[in-house]
Protein backbone atom coordinates (compact mmCIF):
# COMPACT_ATOMS: atom_id res chain seq x y z
CA UNK A 1 0.00 0.00 0.00
CA UNK A 2 2.74 2.43 1.03
CA UNK A 3 4.72 1.55 -2.08
CA UNK A 4 1.72 2.16 -4.30
CA UNK A 5 1.32 5.63 -2.76
CA UNK A 6 5.03 6.30 -3.32
CA UNK A 7 4.77 5.37 -6.98
CA UNK A 8 1.63 7.48 -7.43
CA UNK A 9 3.25 10.44 -5.69
CA UNK A 10 6.36 10.05 -7.85
CA UNK A 11 4.22 10.09 -11.00
CA UNK A 12 2.40 13.23 -9.87
CA UNK A 13 5.67 15.00 -8.99
CA UNK A 14 7.33 14.14 -12.30
CA UNK A 15 4.21 15.14 -14.26
CA UNK A 16 4.18 18.41 -12.32
CA UNK A 17 7.81 19.03 -13.24
CA UNK A 18 7.11 18.22 -16.90
CA UNK A 19 4.16 20.64 -17.06
CA UNK A 20 6.25 23.31 -15.33
CA UNK A 21 8.87 23.08 -18.08
CA UNK A 22 6.18 23.08 -20.81
CA UNK A 23 4.72 26.23 -19.25
CA UNK A 24 8.18 27.80 -19.15
CA UNK A 25 8.73 26.94 -22.81
CA UNK A 26 5.36 28.49 -23.64
CA UNK A 27 6.30 31.60 -21.69
CA UNK A 28 9.40 32.01 -23.86
CA UNK A 29 7.93 30.95 -27.21
CA UNK A 30 4.45 32.52 -27.30
CA UNK A 31 4.21 35.56 -29.58
CA UNK A 32 2.54 38.28 -27.51
CA UNK A 33 1.78 39.36 -23.97
CA UNK A 34 -1.76 37.98 -23.79
CA UNK A 35 -0.79 34.51 -25.00
CA UNK A 36 2.08 34.47 -22.50
CA UNK A 37 -0.47 35.03 -19.75
CA UNK A 38 -1.98 31.65 -20.69
CA UNK A 39 1.42 29.95 -20.58
CA UNK A 40 1.98 31.35 -17.10
CA UNK A 41 -1.48 30.00 -16.25
CA UNK A 42 -0.53 26.35 -16.84
CA UNK A 43 2.43 26.53 -14.53
CA UNK A 44 0.30 28.26 -11.92
CA UNK A 45 -2.61 25.80 -11.88
CA UNK A 46 -1.72 22.30 -13.04
CA UNK A 47 1.90 22.32 -11.84
CA UNK A 48 0.89 23.54 -8.40
CA UNK A 49 -1.91 20.96 -8.24
CA UNK A 50 0.31 18.05 -9.29
CA UNK A 51 3.29 18.92 -7.10
CA UNK A 52 1.21 19.67 -4.01
CA UNK A 53 -0.81 16.51 -4.72
CA UNK A 54 2.37 14.44 -4.92
CA UNK A 55 3.74 15.89 -1.69
CA UNK A 56 0.44 15.39 0.15
CA UNK A 57 0.52 11.68 -0.77
CA UNK A 58 3.93 11.43 0.89
CA UNK A 59 3.01 12.98 4.21
CA UNK A 60 -0.50 11.55 4.67
CA UNK A 61 -2.74 13.10 7.31
CA UNK A 62 -0.57 15.59 9.19
CA UNK A 63 -0.19 19.27 9.88
CA UNK A 64 2.19 19.44 6.93
CA UNK A 65 -0.66 18.33 4.66
CA UNK A 66 -2.93 21.03 6.04
CA UNK A 67 -0.29 23.67 5.29
CA UNK A 68 0.33 22.32 1.79
CA UNK A 69 -3.39 22.42 1.02
CA UNK A 70 -3.54 25.99 2.38
CA UNK A 71 -0.68 26.94 0.03
CA UNK A 72 -2.60 25.40 -2.87
CA UNK A 73 -5.76 27.26 -1.85
CA UNK A 74 -3.89 30.60 -1.63
CA UNK A 75 -2.27 30.01 -5.01
CA UNK A 76 -5.56 29.05 -6.67
CA UNK A 77 -7.30 32.13 -5.25
CA UNK A 78 -4.58 34.70 -5.82
CA UNK A 79 -3.17 33.78 -9.25
CA UNK A 80 -6.36 34.45 -11.26
CA UNK A 81 -6.70 37.77 -9.45
CA UNK A 82 -3.11 38.72 -10.24
CA UNK A 83 -3.52 37.56 -13.86
CA UNK A 84 -6.71 39.55 -14.25
CA UNK A 85 -5.11 42.66 -12.71
CA UNK A 86 -2.20 42.29 -15.16
CA UNK A 87 -4.46 41.83 -18.20
CA UNK A 88 -6.60 44.77 -17.16
CA UNK A 89 -3.60 47.03 -16.57
CA UNK A 90 -2.16 46.08 -19.96
CA UNK A 91 -5.54 46.76 -21.66
CA UNK A 92 -5.79 50.14 -19.93
CA UNK A 93 -2.26 50.90 -21.10
CA UNK A 94 -3.32 50.37 -24.72
CA UNK A 95 -1.59 47.03 -25.38
CA UNK A 96 -3.72 45.43 -28.13
CA UNK A 97 -4.37 41.68 -28.02
CA UNK A 98 -3.89 39.90 -31.34
CA UNK A 99 -7.49 38.78 -31.53
CA UNK A 100 -7.76 38.60 -35.28
CA UNK A 101 -7.82 34.97 -36.38
CA UNK A 102 -6.85 35.88 -39.95
CA UNK A 103 -3.85 37.86 -38.82
CA UNK A 104 -2.73 35.01 -36.58
CA UNK A 105 -2.96 32.62 -39.55
CA UNK A 106 -1.02 35.02 -41.74
CA UNK A 107 1.70 35.35 -39.17
CA UNK A 108 1.84 31.58 -38.76
CA UNK A 109 2.14 31.01 -42.51
CA UNK A 110 4.87 33.61 -42.69
CA UNK A 111 6.79 31.91 -39.90
CA UNK A 112 6.42 28.51 -41.55
CA UNK A 113 7.61 29.67 -44.97
CA UNK A 114 10.61 31.43 -43.43
CA UNK A 115 11.54 28.19 -41.68
CA UNK A 116 11.52 26.04 -44.77
Amino acid sequence: MAELLDVLSGILLLAGGAFAIIGGIGLVRFPDFYTRLHAGGITDTLTALLIVGGLVLQSGFSLLTVKLLLILLFLLFTTPTATHALARAAMADGLEPEGDADRAAERRDGAESSNT
Binding site: L13, G17, F33, D44, K67, I71, F74, L95
Partner: protein, 97 residues
Protein backbone atom coordinates in the same frame (compact mmCIF):
# COMPACT_ATOMS: atom_id res chain seq x y z
CA UNK B 1 11.93 8.74 -3.48
CA UNK B 2 14.45 11.49 -2.85
CA UNK B 3 15.69 11.24 -6.43
CA UNK B 4 12.17 11.95 -7.71
CA UNK B 5 11.92 14.99 -5.43
CA UNK B 6 15.27 16.29 -6.67
CA UNK B 7 14.23 15.79 -10.32
CA UNK B 8 10.97 17.65 -9.73
CA UNK B 9 12.89 20.47 -8.01
CA UNK B 10 15.32 20.73 -10.92
CA UNK B 11 12.39 20.84 -13.37
CA UNK B 12 10.79 23.69 -11.47
CA UNK B 13 14.15 25.49 -11.27
CA UNK B 14 14.50 25.12 -15.05
CA UNK B 15 11.07 26.76 -15.42
CA UNK B 16 12.25 29.59 -13.19
CA UNK B 17 15.26 30.05 -15.47
CA UNK B 18 12.95 30.24 -18.51
CA UNK B 19 10.79 32.79 -16.67
CA UNK B 20 13.92 34.85 -15.90
CA UNK B 21 14.81 34.74 -19.59
CA UNK B 22 11.38 36.15 -20.46
CA UNK B 23 11.78 38.80 -17.74
CA UNK B 24 15.12 39.88 -19.25
CA UNK B 25 13.87 39.89 -22.85
CA UNK B 26 10.60 41.71 -22.17
CA UNK B 27 9.66 43.47 -24.45
CA UNK B 28 6.89 45.27 -22.52
CA UNK B 29 6.91 45.85 -18.79
CA UNK B 30 3.83 43.59 -18.51
CA UNK B 31 5.74 40.65 -20.00
CA UNK B 32 8.31 41.15 -17.29
CA UNK B 33 5.66 41.23 -14.58
CA UNK B 34 4.08 37.98 -15.88
CA UNK B 35 7.52 36.38 -15.76
CA UNK B 36 8.17 37.60 -12.23
CA UNK B 37 4.73 36.31 -11.17
CA UNK B 38 5.54 32.85 -12.54
CA UNK B 39 8.96 33.02 -10.88
CA UNK B 40 7.30 33.82 -7.54
CA UNK B 41 4.73 31.02 -7.62
CA UNK B 42 7.45 28.54 -8.65
CA UNK B 43 9.56 29.70 -5.69
CA UNK B 44 6.72 28.59 -3.40
CA UNK B 45 6.76 25.12 -4.99
CA UNK B 46 10.56 24.86 -4.77
CA UNK B 47 10.50 25.73 -1.07
CA UNK B 48 7.75 23.11 -0.52
CA UNK B 49 9.85 20.50 -2.36
CA UNK B 50 12.98 21.41 -0.37
CA UNK B 51 10.95 20.93 2.82
CA UNK B 52 10.47 17.30 1.84
CA UNK B 53 14.03 16.76 0.58
CA UNK B 54 15.64 18.05 3.76
CA UNK B 55 12.92 16.88 6.14
CA UNK B 56 12.77 20.22 7.97
CA UNK B 57 9.00 20.58 8.37
CA UNK B 58 9.38 24.19 9.54
CA UNK B 59 10.37 25.30 6.04
CA UNK B 60 6.78 24.85 4.83
CA UNK B 61 5.85 28.02 6.75
CA UNK B 62 8.29 29.94 4.55
CA UNK B 63 6.43 28.66 1.47
CA UNK B 64 3.08 29.59 3.03
CA UNK B 65 4.18 33.17 3.73
CA UNK B 66 5.85 33.46 0.34
CA UNK B 67 2.60 32.49 -1.41
CA UNK B 68 0.88 35.45 0.24
CA UNK B 69 3.73 37.94 -0.20
CA UNK B 70 4.09 37.12 -3.89
CA UNK B 71 0.50 38.14 -4.63
CA UNK B 72 0.81 41.42 -2.75
CA UNK B 73 4.14 42.13 -4.45
CA UNK B 74 2.65 41.65 -7.93
CA UNK B 75 -0.31 43.93 -7.22
CA UNK B 76 2.04 46.52 -5.69
CA UNK B 77 4.41 46.47 -8.66
CA UNK B 78 1.43 46.80 -11.02
CA UNK B 79 0.23 49.81 -9.09
CA UNK B 80 3.68 51.35 -9.11
CA UNK B 81 3.94 50.84 -12.88
CA UNK B 82 0.50 52.30 -13.51
CA UNK B 83 0.46 55.21 -11.08
CA UNK B 84 4.15 55.91 -10.64
CA UNK B 85 3.36 56.43 -6.98
CA UNK B 86 2.25 53.94 -4.35
CA UNK B 87 0.43 56.45 -2.17
CA UNK B 88 -1.86 57.80 -4.89
CA UNK B 89 -5.47 56.62 -4.89
CA UNK B 90 -6.03 57.01 -8.61
CA UNK B 91 -9.22 57.68 -10.53
CA UNK B 92 -9.41 54.25 -12.16
CA UNK B 93 -7.66 51.81 -9.92
CA UNK B 94 -6.83 48.35 -11.29
CA UNK B 95 -9.08 46.87 -8.62
CA UNK B 96 -12.29 48.68 -9.61
CA UNK B 97 -15.12 47.35 -11.72
Amino acid sequence: MNTVLVIATLAVLATMALALLRALVGPTVYDRIVAVNVFGTKTVLVVALITYITGHADLIDVALVYALINFIAIVTVLKLVKMGNLAEAGRRDITDG
